[in-house]
């Protein structure tokens, strides 16, 4: 029972990690929160749904949903961040909330506000591993998430673009003086962030099998909890914290009262901000 729950928690948590990583990439770069991120996630889930309905195989649908969500994230950058580069930091923050409202309502118009059932696109095989029963969907979710986590982490650390991202994050003016095309880096980061949210959207939909245009609200908030617990701007911290929250959530549902779940998560969030705002593993930049 315990091991089974642990696996379920890891699976749920890894989708949270993907969302939290998307937040962190943008936050690390611009020191600003993109509160439309949860709704980009929702759009990713629905794009995957629409492609699956068209009969496109899962992996292709996943890839297309990634690209689609990435493009929506680029729109967020274009309308909420670029015109407001020099504004008070609240400007882009609130603008992204308004953009989120827009996305939710466009989503409602296209797919309706009733839950949409995700089509069964793949064979469900189940494997017995000692005391744990794992389905093929769970394995795929874990594998894709882990692959992306390691991939993004290594990308930021090792590639030329990753280096440009880190340089821009440290000081935009210095980076541009050294020949980094800051606008290109910002666009690339938003696209990657959105694509990660898109994958998380499709994977989450595969777990719950039902989606509505409002799933992004809670997932977006949970992603925010993860980046705080992991330490703002800390990519690895965000990944681990996302998984941790998933495990806490599943364990709470299994051994405690499910309806207290969000109270516990947001209580933890609040306590961290009040008493340990640097998170468990430290921030990249001390702002508080």
């Amino acid at each position: 029972m315990f091991w089974q729950q642990l696996i379920n928690g890891l699976m749920l948590g890894s989708t949270y990690s993907l969302i939290a990583m998307g937040y962190t990439l943008v936050l690390g770069l611009l020191k600003m929160l993109n509160l439309a991120h949860g709704d980009v996630f929702m759009f990713g889930a629905f794009l995957g749904y629409s492609f699956a309905l068209l009969g496109i195989p899962l992996y292709w649908a996943l890839l297309l949903a990634m690209v689609g969500a990435g493009i929506i994230s680029l729109l967020v950058e274009r309308f909420c961040f670029r015109p407001l580069r020099k504004a008070h930091f609240l400007g882009p923050l609130l603008s992204t909330i308004a953009f989120g409202i827009l996305l939710q309502n466009v989503g409602t118009q296209i797919w309706g506000s009733e839950p949409s059932r995700y089509p069964q696109t793949m064979e469900m095989a189940q494997f017995q591993l000692g005391p744990v029963l794992i389905s093929s969907v769970q394995l795929i979710i874990l594998a894709i998430s882990l692959l992306l986590m390691v991939g993004i982490d290594q990308f930021v650390r090792r590639t030329r673009m990753g280096r440009a991202m880190r340089a821009t994050s440290e000081n935009q003016i210095n980076a541009s003086l050294l020949g980094v095309d800051v606008n290109r880096v910002v666009r690339f980061t938003f696209f990657t962030s959105g694509a990660l949210a898109g994958v998380a959207g499709v994977l989450t939909a595969l777990v719950y099998l039902q989606i509505t245009p409002f799933i992004g609200i809670r997932q977006g908030l949970i992603g925010m909890v993860a980046i705080v617990i992991g330490g703002l701007g800390n990519l690895r911290g965000a990944m681990i914290a996302g998984i941790l929250i998933g495990v806490i959530e599943v364990m709470n549902d299994a051994y405690f009262t499910a309806s207290y779940r969000d109270m516990i998560i947001f209580g933890l969030f609040f306590l961290f901000l009040m008493f340990k705002p640097e998170g468990l593993w430290g921030t990249t930049k001390q702002e508080s």
């Binding site: 909420c80 609130l94 466009v106 118009q109 908030l221 703002l232």
Partner: protein, 287 residues
């Protein structure tokens, strides 16, 4: 008056109060994305008092608001250490915590909500609006108002000038929570029924949008923002299903066109001078 218009006006008045509650906290350069939480505390407390104990509405409203402002103090003191994004997220977390608390709190109905509060009227709502507008009008002309301006512009200079910055910031939180608590009580007694999802994260952010888009430099901006953006969804009814999508697009556009808000301090000053000139002309004609 027609019931529909009355309903729109009542919610507009409540939105004005909520915008003022955010403005009160902003006067010391702090932003709260959790005012729906203070509103919920005011709403549930006052509703419980009137329904279960038969307390009269006015004292119940005030007790509800005092409870909210007490919690505001408890939040405001540790929140002093936080700035920028951290404070935004902490208040947001607080709002969600309050919402999930009332979702699980059985004495006030839990997930099935709380039924029965009633007795709010346009007169009562706008009475409170006038009270707080008069308060902010006087505040802007007082020594305290100038101190708050100083804290907002530069807290370090303000404290060198001998102002008690900590006390002013905590006071602002207390006041904001109090106003939000009153608004919550009025809301509960206007709707006859409340549930925890009424006080969600979206409401908190909408209130802040009223203030930022209206203009955060003066309380007139907060008021105008609340009025325009409470009426806009009603005006947009002809767009039917696309109305809220369009509303979101309008919010994004206004932010791009006027990042400092619709009403700025300069506008208020120019308007005052213009009024002054007109009065002056009228007086010289008399003579």
């Amino acid at each position: 008056m027609n019931v529909y218009i009355e309903g729109v006006l009542a919610l507009m008045g409540i939105n004005i109060l909520l915008a003022l509650s955010v403005y009160a906290i902003l006067t010391t350069d702090q932003l709260s994305l959790g005012n729906a939480g203070f509103m919920a505390i005011g709403a549930y407390t006052s509703a419980y008092l009137t329904v279960k104990f038969g307390v009269a509405l006015l004292p119940a409203l005030i007790i509800g608001a005092l409870t909210a402002s007490l919690i505001g103090l408890l939040i405001g003191i540790p929140a002093l250490r936080l700035k920028g994004i951290y404070l935004v997220m902490a208040t947001l977390g607080f709002g969600e915590m309050v919402r999930t608390f009332f979702l699980n709190f059985e004495p006030t109905g839990g997930a099935s909500g709380f039924r029965g509060p009633m007795g709010s009227s346009l007169l009562l709502i706008y009475g409170w609006v006038i009270v707080f507008v008069a308060f902010f009008w006087l505040l802007a002309r007082s020594r305290l108002g100038r101190s708050l301006d100083a804290v907002r512009d530069d807290p370090e200079v303000a404290s060198t000038l001998g102002l008690d910055v900590v006390r002013l910031k905590v006071w602002a939180f207390w006041l904001g929570a109090f106003i939000a608590g009153i608004a919550g009580g009025l809301y509960a007694h206007h709707m006859f029924y409340i549930e925890s999802s009424n006080f969600n994260f979206l409401l908190s952010t909408m209130i802040v949008l009223y203030v930022i888009l209206g203009g955060m430099e003066t309380f007139w901006g907060a008021m105008v923002g609340a009025i325009i953006f409470s009426i806009l969804p009603e005006v947009l009814r002809f767009m039917k299903d696309w109305r809220l999508s369009f509303y979101g697009a309008v919010l994004v556009t206004v932010m791009i066109i006027r990042p400092a808000g619709i009403i700025t301090r300069e506008m208020v000053r120019d308007f005052r001078e213009w009024l002054g000139r007109i009065f002056h002309r009228a007086r010289t004609w008399d003579a």
